[in-house]
């Protein structure tokens, strides 16, 4: 009896399976990402809009944990011969992905081979520069980009009778006044200590972080951020840390609460902090461009981006690549970019989308959402401000942060700390160079 039921069930399953097989003609495209909350909704909507607009391809988005988790999951899947088609990788993973020739399919090649219309000039160079070779060939597709800005507690500044500072000396002055006016534990601070105080600082002042255009021109790059400007900046921070005019807030963004709680009235971090500020801050706020040293020649230059891009994995069929290319074209659409920009707070990646958002008056009420764009497009990017491509970047940042922490704790001088950071970093870069596929 039971056996007969089983037979019937199997027969049904078989027919259903056979019946379903024509539907498999739809090519499935796996998209692994690291977006949560409202940004996850955006991704789901993008995929379902694309799937609804045509019937040949089906994009399936899957959340794989935070950026590092997603990348590790992708790498593990690749090693098991089971990689997704599209993988969202944060900007610090760029060199690792790029070094994996054969594991990834460069976007410019994909678009050329599939015959999709593709004009690299349509995208904002400050964003695509990060993901392109020195010849301007786009390797990955920019998806969500942000930049460093200085968040300002307007109420606190007003109370202390301080103007919004534009340069670093003005920031130090303002922080001292703010400290005297009641912000005793923190005049100003920042998250992502190396991104803000080494990487962005160098680009913003048109000073190299490392040779070979910060690694964009080759993996045989040598770190050089122990120059006078970077040392002077760290010396200033060390001096101000002593009386808490500056107060170190950790390597990642866990210290951001000190701004929203009102403790630190000036705070440098990602423009993507906007959502939290808007939800939590009980004071008037804005975001202004990063400060600069007025005596540095040519400062401010342009800032570099944070965020992530979409990498196309290698070894897939021509039909699958066709679908991936169509999806990238779909994402580049101006209206769609405006939608992504408005709903996620990340930057638009095409010039047309930026112009459209501006024409719609989007920045009138929220001028601070334009700040990162103004920084990125401030000047034509140079060798020093196009982007960074250093191997083992995640761990490099930890090593640099360790040394900066030693300086701030008074165990090393600023110069000693940066020299050590450069030396240890170079060892890691040589290690990476050895394993990178030639």
């Amino acid at each position: 009896m039971a056996l007969r039921h089983f037979g019937a069930a199997a027969a049904v399953a078989l027919t259903v399976g056979l019946g379903a097989s024509p539907a498999l003609a739809v090519t499935e495209i796996q998209w692994w990402h690291a977006m949560t909350g409202a940004n996850n909704d955006v991704i789901v909507k993008l995929a379902s809009d694309f799937n609804g607009a045509q019937s040949d391809y089906k994009v399936i988005p899957t959340y794989k944990g935070n950026y590092a988790d997603t990348m590790n999951a992708g790498i593990a899947a690749f090693r098991a011969g089971n990689a997704p088609h599209i993988m969202q990788v944060f900007e610090v993973g760029t060199a690792t992905m790029m070094a994996a020739t054969g594991a990834v399919k460069p976007v410019y090649k994909l678009m050329a081979e599939t015959g999709e219309k593709f004009d690299p000039k349509a995208y904002l160079p400050a964003i695509t520069g990060y993901y392109s070779t020195s010849k301007g060939e786009m390797l990955s597709f920019p998806f969500n980009s942000s930049s460093t800005v200085m968040w300002v507690n307007l109420d606190a500044l007003k109370k202390a009778n301080v103007e919004i500072p534009k340069t670093w000396p003005e920031v130090f002055d303002a922080a001292k006044k703010l400290k005297a006016a009641g912000h005793a534990t923190c005049g100003f601070s920042n998250s992502w200590v190396t991104w803000v105080n080494l990487e962005q600082l160098s680009a913003w002042h048109n000073v190299p972080l490392s040779t070979k255009a910060n690694g964009l021109d080759g993996f045989d790059t040598v770190l050089s951020f122990n120059g006078p400007l970077q040392v002077k900046h760290l010396e200033n921070l060390v001096e101000l840390q002593k009386d808490k005019t500056y107060d170190y807030a950790g390597r990642t963004n866990t210290g951001e609460g000190r701004f929203t709680s009102g403790e630190c009235p000036l705070y440098l971090t990602s423009s993507a902090f906007f959502g939290n500020v808007k939800a939590q801050a009980k004071f008037a706020f804005t975001a202004v461009p990063m400060p600069y040293y007025p005596d540095a020649k040519g400062a401010p230059q342009n800032s570099i981006i944070g965020g992530a891009s979409l990498w196309i994995m290698g070894g897939k069929s021509a039909d699958e690549y066709k679908g991936v290319a169509k999806f990238l074209t779909f994402l580049s659409d101006t209206d769609r970019q405006v939608y992504i920009h408005k709903s996620s707070g990340y930057l638009p990646i095409t010039k047309a989308a930026y112009d459209k958002a501006k024409a719609e008056g989007f920045y009138k009420d929220q001028p601070y959402l334009e700040t990162p764009l103004l920084e990125l497009t401030n000047k034509e990017p140079t060798e020093n401000s196009r982007g960074l491509r250093l191997g083992n970047m995640v761990q490099l940042r930890d090593v640099w942060a360790e040394e900066i922490e030693q300086a701030l704790a008074g165990k090393k001088t600023a110069k000693q700390a940066l020299d050590a950071a450069v030396e240890r970093g170079n060892t890691m870069l040589r290690q990476f160079e050895k394993t990178a596929v030639k």
């Binding site: 790498i75 070094a99 994996a100 020739t101 000190r258 403790e263 761990q395 930890d398 394993t435 990178a436």
Partner: protein, 293 residues
């Protein structure tokens, strides 16, 4: 007394242990072997290019002074965590063992923290003592203490030891309580009749009878401090500031998973494995002699 079980068939005993053997082989020996092989290789994260480098990964490690610092730090952390959680748990167990009103409630409450996962412990202590998020940090700073474990390595180390020991107290407590309750009351009563005061009763009667439990817990606690503190370190300090909370296990993770340096990471895990084997060997060879079962 007959100690040997008698099997009719010669194959049956093998068949009975086969599943267990298979699990051990697949989940213990196979990965260990993989780690050993990997430790002789230099490979990129994607596994696209592989070079056989003999002992280069090991030699690089022993040339690195930071590695020796990490070894010393790990031993110090293990010692501090094991001693503080064991002694505190014993104190609590002795007190909870007394006939008290509502002792069941105390016992249940004391066991609770064990159910908390290490990263959650990290988050919990962050909410108390993180310089910007912590509730207690505000009071500390209001009292004039310069509390900032993000910059002060000693404070960060204290924080990790505190959190790790706190989590392990419940587990130790549970075993100590069971150990205490298994000591026959008549022995203690006899000692009391002989005129031994509570402290003397504890050190001459209870403590020696507890020694097998203490020894067992010592091994468990050291293994815990070596490996399971990873989640706490990751959520609280990520090895910082400087390198002041980077233990061996955390270094394996940062070098291998974050840095993509699988060769060095594998070499470190092999060394770690040898270390634990030696450590356990020493414990059973020498410490166990002092234990009365």
């Amino acid at each position: 007394m007959q100690k040997q079980a008698i099997f009719q068939s010669k194959l049956l005993p093998y068949a009975l242990v086969a599943p267990q053997l298979a699990i051990v082989l697949i989940f213990f020996y196979w990965p260990a072997l993989q780690a050993m092989i990997q430790s002789f290789l230099l490979q990129d994260a994607f596994g696209l290019s592989t070079t056989f480098v003999w002992f280069e990964n090991y030699i690089d490690l022993f040339k690195d002074p930071a590695y020796f610092e990490a070894i010393l730090r790990t031993f110090f952390f293990s010692f501090a965590i094991a001693v503080s959680s064991l002694s505190f748990a014993l104190l609590l167990a002795v007190m909870a063992d007394k006939p008290l009103r509502g002792s069941m409630l105390y016992r249940t409450l004391l066991i609770w923290p064990y159910a908390v996962a290490p990263p959650v412990v990290g988050v919990l202590w962050i909410f108390m003592l993180h310089p910007s998020l912590g509730v207690l940090s505000r009071y500390l700073r209001a009292l004039g203490v310069d509390w900032n474990p993000l910059l002060d390595g000693n404070q960060a180390a204290t924080l990790i030891i505190l959190a790790a020991a706190w989590k392990q107290i419940s587990y130790n407590f549970l075993f100590f309580l069971a150990g205490l309750q298994s000591i026959p009351k008549s022995v203690i009563e006899a000692a009391a009749i002989d005129g031994a005061r509570p402290m003397r009763r504890f050190w001459t009667v209870i403590f020696p009878l507890l020694s097998p439990t203490i020894f067992f817990l010592l091994v468990v606690n050291i293994v815990y401090a070596f490996f399971d503190t990873f989640g706490i370190i990751d959520t609280m300090t990520r090895g910082g500031p400087g390198k002041s909370t980077e233990t061996l296990v955390y270094k394996v993770y940062t070098d291998g998973l974050l840095g993509g340096n699988l060769g060095s990471s594998a070499a470190q895990s092999v060394i770690l494995m040898i270390m634990v084997i030696v450590l356990t060997g020493i414990q059973f060879r020498f410490v166990e002699r002092k234990v009365t079962y």
